[in-house]
């Protein structure tokens, strides 16, 4: 295109004749005879042709799944360099975030049968989230790492295709915190937080646009944690060690059924979110901004915080926040006198109290701890449930009804949704 415009600026006749250049004898002419301007045009045209090819290849490659890209690394040196380029990886990630076919579900299974101590090795499985049916039919085991044998692994958080895992390495007996990309199979070890014991922490991981860095936040909020609440932050690229941040003194922990009501923090609008209890009276959503590390609050509607009697052991409440399709959502499972009730609200306008809208409401006596995980294209919400009789393993249901029970009932299971990406944990080797 540019070459044609150059021709126009030379004031060549409006009907430009390419015959002169296409004629082979043109190229056989003595080089001094060729007018300089014509030579420039030819050179520009060839350079543009090559550039167009690169543009096209980048556009096609950025739409390929991670597995294909890893296979195509050996096509040529140029392709390998392109696939490894950080800018290309970001372009690929930004496209994958909006592509339903790139969303996957990671499940960890650890046998907790005391008689089978050798089986406590955790196995990981990945399945497609293109539909509820695919979740079961498409399950494939994912090898974690040749360096470690993960024993009793816990999934802590996930962001941009990276998953944070904590486990005990059978070979060394060490507690390891690892950043893993299940799509590329790469993993790296991270330092452990200094003050808060890992087993009492809830985690969150997010990308901070201000510092162009990923940050991990850990707060000792689980039901077994006691004493002062402290926050620790790790910036992956810069720093390489954990920093402590103070926690608001007037907000206390929330106790859920099995933990604090959440598996990991909800990261949205540049902040981590979880549920706190202000002055033992009302529940609020606490936020922690990833860039300036300032705490904030998001109010809940009165009907979202039910009054219930903690002394009555049959009354159980499990609540927390999560994200669905770019919106903050609040969920609660309330079990009272044989009747279970699950409600899910979404905040249509972030920060606006009146915009809390109920999305799902289910009554079922078997509901115990229900958490929303993902919204399918047809609007159905994938729910991860725990069964009252067998709390350590998980079941899935959708907003339209229950389905699928995982076969083994002596397995401790965890799950997290992740995006297939090329982001490499090896960029963050801060140990």
């Amino acid at each position: 295109m540019t070459s044609l415009l150059i021709c126009n600026k030379l004031n060549v006749q409006k009907r430009f004749d390419f015959d002169a250049i296409n004629d082979e004898s043109f190229f056989n002419r003595n080089i001094e005879e060729v007018p300089k301007k014509m030579m420039n045009i030819t050179a520009n045209f060839q350079a543009i042709e090559i550039q167009l090819q690169e543009e096209i290849i980048v556009e096609i490659l950025s739409r390929l799944p991670v597995r294909s890209l890893h296979r195509f690394k050996c096509v040529s040196k140029y392709w390998k360099a392109l696939i490894s380029d950080p800018y290309f990886r970001m372009k690929h990630l930004n496209r994958a975030k909006n592509d339903r076919n790139s969303q996957k579900n990671l499940i960890s299974k650890t046998c907790f049968d005391k008689k089978k101590t050798s089986d406590k090795i955790t196995h990981f499985y990945s399945s497609s989230l293109s539909s509820a049916v695919q979740l079961f039919e498409d399950e494939k085991e994912v090898d974690f790492s040749p360096n470690w044998t993960p024993w009793c692994a816990l999934i802590l958080s996930s962001c941009d295709g990276l998953v944070l895992i904590k486990f005990l390495d059978l070979r060394t007996g060490k507690v390891i915190l690892s950043l893993w990309n299940p799509s590329t199979r790469e993993s790296v070890e991270l330092p452990l937080p200094r003050l808060v014991p890992l087993k009492h922490c809830i985690c969150g991981m997010g990308y901070d646009t201000t510092s162009d860095d990923y940050k991990i936040v850990m707060i000792n909020l689980t039901r077994f944690a006691h004493g002062a609440i402290s926050t620790e932050v790790l910036a992956l690229k810069s720093g390489g060690s954990w920093r402590s941040c103070e926690y608001p003194t007037d907000i206390s922990r929330v106790q859920g059924v099995w933990d604090c009501g959440m598996d990991y923090f909800a990261f949205i609008h540049g902040a981590f979110h979880w549920v706190g209890c202000r002055l033992s009276q009302c529940y609020i959503v606490v936020s922690f901004n990833i860039s300036n590390e300032v705490y904030g609050e998001i109010p809940l509607l009165d009907q979202m915080c039910l009054n219930f009697d903690r002394k009555k052991l049959t009354d159980v409440l499990d609540l927390g926040v999560s994200t669905l399709e770019g919106m903050l959502c609040f969920y609660s499972t309330y079990y009272k006198g044989g009747e279970g009730s699950f409600k899910l609200w979404v905040m249509r306008d972030y920060g606006v109290k009146e915009s809390w809208t109920i999305l799902v409401s289910i009554q079922d006596s078997n509901l115990y701890s229900v958490r929303p995980r993902y919204r399918f294209g047809d609007g159905e919400v994938l729910l991860r449930c725990r069964h009252r009789g067998f709390i350590k393993f998980i079941e899935y249901a959708t907003s339209r009804g229950p389905f699928g029970v995982w076969p083994s009932r002596q397995t401790h299971m965890q799950d997290v949704v992740y995006t297939e990406s090329l982001i490499s944990p090896k960029l963050f080797a801060c140990v």
Binding site: I60, L64, R67, H70
Partner: protein
């Protein structure tokens, strides 16, 4: 009416309103060109491009379903044809056609073996056999699977 000339010297007279879907042609029309030679686009490809632009010129709501059906059928071509189309659509800056071609091509090539990719893109392998073997071993899991095939289309 604007006249387009393919690299094979065939000429086509098309209404300006249809052709402005091409950013390149739109710019040339604004500069008062009425005869536009396209040395990068052969006749076969140009015919298909014109067919696409004619179909997409009328974007009224009632035609939307028709257009979607047309697009789906339009992609049912050989890889060579799709490549010629993507090169031409890029050169002519027809973004809607590019947004259709890129994912279609990606989908067609995603399960191919590396040798098929090299042939399709006319790429010469510049790795030594040892280097190539090492890259394959590092990414062994990506080379295993029943869905991987070696056709050139």
């Amino acid at each position: 009416m604007i006249t387009l000339q393919s690299s094979d010297k065939d000429v086509f007279e098309i209404e300006q309103s249809i052709l402005i879907q091409s950013g390149t042609i739109k710019n040339m029309v604004e500069d008062d060109f009425t005869f536009i030679p396209l040395p990068s686009v052969d006749t076969e490809t140009l015919i298909k491009i014109i067919e696409y632009m004619k179909k997409h010129a009328d974007k009224t709501d009632s035609k939307e379903k028709n257009i979607k059906e047309f697009d789906k059928d339009f992609m049912k071509k050989t890889l060579n044809e799709l490549f010629a189309l993507v090169f031409a659509a890029n050169y002519l800056h027809i973004s809607s056609l590019l947004e259709l071609l890129y994912p279609s091509i990606a989908d067609r090539i995603k399960d191919k073996i590396t040798e098929a990719i090299r042939q399709i893109f006319s790429i010469r392998c510049d790795f030594t056999p040892e280097e190539e073997r090492r890259i394959i071993m590092d990414n062994k899991w990506a080379h295993e699977g029943t869905e991987i095939e070696g056709t050139l289309d």
